[in-house]
Symmetry: D2
Subunit: 471 residues, 4 copies
């Protein structure tokens, strides 16, 4: 994951504050760290740290980030441990001037690339893919003075997911990998060009959406011009699922989890509204797993739109049976080990008047860990529910992701070695239903998706050594 945001101001005004707001709109894509780098044409200025955008940047810090070109990054929490070194943009002072890189995605072959570079005497100060890309890029810049050429030569070495922002002293370059794993789009207003992971940040800044950057496209912004370049190598055929639905296929492998979970509902990715996908998922779920019940309730926040769709399709009235404490998310003193249920109740609270005596359908996006789901189900039963039925808006996740989603967070551990029935039993529900693969593709309305986590078929070669290392 992670979110990236860049601006080029034609009027040469400072862009740091606008980037700050853009990152604020993309905060859902990464909460571990944040950074902004700006260029005034000669010098580079940057600041990055652990924490939310609002914690990392204070007025004084922003005011020192001079420059009319800038890129920002919000970092997703991964297993690698929090460290300021791993925050981005990664900034390099080289003989070719300053270079700053912000990266969303995960390279499959980064370990191999690191090893190769180390064998040539290079050293690394972080564990980011951005640093690998920076080192490769600088080597290519020694061979050719054409920056786009150097970038193309660099990208040819990369396998995996990368939506990139590269800032030179006087230009801003945006890249989306040939598979189009991660979203990236362009916006503009009277005086600026914007690049953003999601168009919701364009809306926040009142910028006009221009277009999604295409898989394999390189956008160069310089001297008042926007030039589109194309990576000249294709992606090998990847048609992960044989679904008999009339839908788009453009040969990409865009992450389905962006639609299901990660992206903000007000975003539109490659022309498809995230909100509508989620509502359709709810409807298809109701068709695939119908149930005789009195109320449909989401597990907030992620289940809300699915549950609305389920209600609309099934005719079972929608109620908020669980209320989320709006102050959750702040650091607070954790309950002790033997108060785990308290931890759940601090976050979610049942509405007894809604649940009492009712047959309840609970809808969520996934079962992260069986234990939390079981506690929620217990809580709902304790509030008086007669029956509890669980519906999940995504197929069972069975394979790890190598393109940027941390499976330690999102992997449905419980799903990997149990049948649906066994899972339902473990959680203690009266019935359980996962969205089918066909249902998912139909709901999204396109077939050129990366579905590796639910099918086990990967759109790129996968580094098996790395897989072993992870498991």
């Amino acid at each position: 994951m992670c979110g990236i945001f860049g601006i080029y101001s034609y009027e040469r005004l400072n862009v740091a504050k606008k980037i700050y707001y853009g990152l604020f709109a993309l905060q859902h894509r990464g909460q571990e760290g944040a950074g902004i780098a700006t260029s005034d044409g000669k010098n580079i200025h940057y600041y990055k740290n652990i924490g939310l955008v609002t914690d990392v940047f204070k007025n004084e810090t922003l005011q020192n980030l001079f420059g009319y070109i800038g890129i920002g990054h919000v970092r997703y929490s991964t297993t690698g441990g929090k460290a300021v070194e791993n925050c981005q943009p990664f900034v390099v002072k080289s003989s070719f001037g300053n270079i700053a890189i912000a990266h969303n995605g995960d390279l499959v072959n980064s370990d191999e690339l690191r090893r190769e570079l180390e064998m040539k005497g290079h050293i690394f100060t972080s564990s980011t893919d951005s640093e690998v890309i920076a080192q490769l890029l600088v080597r290519e810049l020694l061979k050719t003075s054409d920056k786009i050429e150097a970038i193309k030569n660099t990208l040819k070495k990369l396998v995996g997911a990368y939506s990139l922002l590269i800032m030179f002293n006087d230009s801003l370059i945006a890249v989306r990998d040939p598979w189009g794993f991660k979203p990236l789009c362009i916006g503009r207003d009277e005086s600026n060009i914007y690049i953003s992971s999601e168009d919701c940040a364009l809306t926040t800044l009142d910028a006009e959406f221009v277009k999604d950057i295409e898989p394999g496209e390189i956008i160069e912004i310089k001297d008042g011009e926007i030039i589109s370049h194309k990576l000249d190598y294709g992606v090998s055929e990847y048609n992960p699922v044989n679904v008999d639905v009339p839908c788009i296929y453009r040969g990409a492998a865009t992450c389905m989890f962006e639609y299901v979970y990660f992206a903000r509902p007000d975003s539109t990715i490659d022309g498809i509204s995230v909100y509508k996908v989620r509502k359709r998922i709810g409807k298809i779920l109701a068709k695939e797993h119908p149930v005789d019940a009195d109320v449909v309730s989401p597990i907030p926040d992620s289940g809300v739109t699915f549950a609305l769709g389920f209600s609309e399709e099934s005719g079972i009235p929608y109620y908020e049976g669980l209320i989320k404490n709006r102050y959750v998310g702040r650091t607070f003193i954790l309950p002790s080990q033997n108060e785990r249920e308290l931890a759940v109740r601090l976050k979610l609270s049942p509405v007894k008047s809604v649940l009492e005596g009712k047959r309840v359908v609970l809808v969520d996006d996934s079962i992260v860990r069986g234990t939390t789901s079981r506690r929620i189900v217990n809580m709902v039963r304790k509030a008086g529910a007669k029956e509890v039925h669980l519906r999940i808006g995504c197929p069972k996740i069975i394979s790890p992701c190598y393109y940027g989603i941390d499976m330690a967070t999102k992997k449905e551990l419980i799903a990997s070695n149990k049948t649906e029935e066994e899972i339902g039993k473990a959680i203690g529900v009266d019935s359980i239903g996962y969205l089918s693969l066909e249902g998912l593709v139909k709901a999204i309305g396109r077939k050129d998706l990366c579905l590796a986590c639910v099918t086990g078929k990967y759109p790129t070669e996968v580094n098996f050594e790395k897989i072993l290392g992870r498991e």
Copy 2:
């Protein structure tokens, strides 16, 4: 406003951490400051400061708050300016031992009481009603060694809203004023008695709800006993509205805004579910102000349940047309004066795919300031809405509140001197509709409400000097 929470542990275990969690569950009732005072039978320990519960209390602080009796307070943001002196509980070291007081509500005659006390040589270090009550109480304790007698004599002097927690060295006392303005209830588990502003905090701590404290009731918890005392003076008849609805009337004057806005939806106040009231409001609103439209959307968060009710009654499908950034609420660098619209867009973002080409009904609980509403309506139109209809789940507020709700925050300034039609015009909607007074009473299902802010009729005498001072 404000929220209060108290615990008495029969097993003499430390209660501070439980109070912390209770206050966390009541955080919505006050975000300006927080405090906890505990008694170990001999000594009193306390800490209070500006900020959210999670900011004010760190592990080390909590661990120093020894004691098996304790009371806590979350302070509502008022015009008086932030100051640690005004945080509660108010703690007194007197010849009668330590006394700590936490107060929810607003006394109408506090200025007069202060003046009287000052004339007797008393001084004040804060601007809280708690300090006034403490001074009065200590004077009464000089006259009688019977604490309940002293409390009764003190309460007789108070006019206005007060849900109180009073902690002595070895007992905990809870009081709800004779009008029952503010909610207050009792809970228990195997080893503790709890007092809470709302029962949602009991649910969080897995405590059993015992009962709502009645208007004019004094609950004393001491030596393993719970004793109920009664204030022996009645409330003058207050029947604010002649509504022909079959509903409860018990002579109280409970704040209707608790049901409409303040209390958490999972709370039940005086036997009535807040969530159900809000859903009923939405339904009645749909009946009172029907409209031919394509989608119903709330203005989040407060409009959600109203909008669900409106949708259910009208049959118009419910969509989330506006997405709230979940990181709003954190301190962030404000946009400059000429970027006011940005401030709204940072908070709320339109879902174009939902709104485009549609006739939209927006539902909210009130119109705080016309300007924000106008900006939201503009945003919705800009996202493509063909028509925008606004429905408000509360009658127009026309009179100030003297019982604890800060009208600088919630008063519908725009409502006070304009007709509904004029308001709709100013905001730029195609139609507007406020809930009727009858509709409100019907939705809540009880008549013994304080409706002063929407009728101008006050349940107590009102200090006119104070009114002048405020306006």
Copy 3:
């Protein structure tokens, strides 16, 4: 202890920043907390908190402290535990307008006064004498509209040490108790009148020293006038020591520890230079306890001037045999229990080249705890000293102080039940010598001193109940 500083600006300019600098110059008098209160003629503004002056006040805070009259306070660390409530000035909003009080000293009869007030229904929110004085003053103000009359009536009730600053809306009043326990002086420049605990703060602000406030004097500053009032009751004869030295006797009982330890060396108290007193102490010590040695070295910082005097008188060369780490004083991670010697070495480090093979005289102001002294002596021996002789610039402390010096910090525990010889043995020195009482009086050059801690004779009646409570 504690330090107080006040300003009245004739030109009605804001005084908060100047008070900040004044408190910075008085920081040595109290490091636990700091506060400033200002009056703009109508409103009072104040801020106080735990910590050093530089930690408590930031630019923004100071800028909000409007007003042309102001008083400040630095709080001495006492056993009572750190609490913001005990920081001063103590601010009262009463019917007589705002009153702020800052106090240096300790009342002997504060417990009795508290009890009396409590019996009249007063409550207390802090454990400061300032609050007691404020309550008494407000009661007197009810009886007479003459503020000075009310202050005099209040002061008559106080027994013990008090240098006071009292700020009303439009005037500033300074008081020194009839015994003159604590110093207090007046300064001025073109546009301001200053009151300060020590004249060193006047020097810092480039103000001219006007005079020491006399014991029993009340200084009123108002409307461009400075009026001196006199408390009309005398102090009972107190001549604590029959010393045959030609020196000043004015009937006061000024704390000798101000000269020996507390005041800054660049201050002059009641006309006597603190620096010169300390140098004379060193000289007298050399005469009283001569020793055949090679080097004289102070234990820094407090022993420096004594050691210089000792060297000058004895002819033994002065060397810095121990270097103090200049970063001591900052919060740092403490060594564990079994690394106590490390704690001493982190603070002080021996200069081997100075100590090796030498007979060393170490000079200090007191023996706080025998353990630290023993460790220092060990360190000096380990660095190669052949002999170690200890000289102390103050008589043995044998009785507690009731006038403001915390004996938990300064009391020579080791002195109370041991002879000099026994102490020397316990510490491991070759010889030890304390300054004599006569030597002390001679060095200070005045007889009207409070010498209670070294003689056991108190200049006021002492509350025996309180003594028992403390021991």
Copy 4:
């Protein structure tokens, strides 16, 4: 400047806390930033940040720094701006395992080395010499598996000052450059080997001093052994001053400023006590520039030992005529532009009783800026001094330093283009006297010093391009 400290624990105990205390003892060598890196044999752990050692490290941070080998660094404030990237140790994850480097000194040819590396495709993330050394070292490690060989090959490329600590996964290496510019010594106790910039840190940790590392010596600590290696190239003859004093000459070029100003007085560098050097400087100064006066006073803190020596030699009594506020050094609100004199008075305060009517000799180590000296002299005169004579314990600084001392801080701007007489006049003293070059060498007692800043003759070739860039 900067300070470095390393430990190798034979008993494989964690060393981070001991390094913390070692850095605390070396804090005077650098206040801008601090860092510690440790190795547990396999993994490297590190933390570094802007600020004092006590600010950067909290208990929790230290506890996570596992490992029995460790190195630490305190960073000197330089013109390059504060940035966490420039804090050290510099940590590299390379194919040869982890490498951490801490550096004290300044390379003369770092710009050239950077350019060369950049031409080979290397990138830089900081502006430290450590990063340059790390990159060179990794390249050499590709050529030979012998670490010492690789280090030697790396060092051959470096011109300038470097005392280095290099930590590999399982060994600790210490290097002092062939000129011996900066001090570095070894210590030990029962279970650890220590390397420290100064032996004062050994004293703090109660470690035994083993020896000064010799110029051009490489110390390797590994598997319980300490092996000494020697760089096999010599230093070209550098005999900067033809002084007819019988003193040591070993062909080194050790920085004279370490003796005069930087090192702690309790340190001994290359067998010579810093304290004794400073006392001798004072004595020689008294001989070289005698004056008829009443008191000798230092400008604290740096002038103290000089002034004691001056007093001892001249017989003029030593007095502390200026008192330094001990809270200076903490961040405080600065006086405004037109209150510059206040800034000086906040730091230093005159003791009137010492200065009044006296002919005063002030002694300092250097004249940093004429303005501050002039203000101090004014202050002393205003306090009543009849005459003011200034004596400086160091020759006039006339040339920039390229070996690690920031001339923006220490360069006597006033000295560079004025005669002594002119300087005295500008400052407003009755007479002025600088220590002579001969006097300096005699006081230190060795001739193999770097005296470039006072003679203009440099012990190494100097990069003229760099000089131009700086001036």
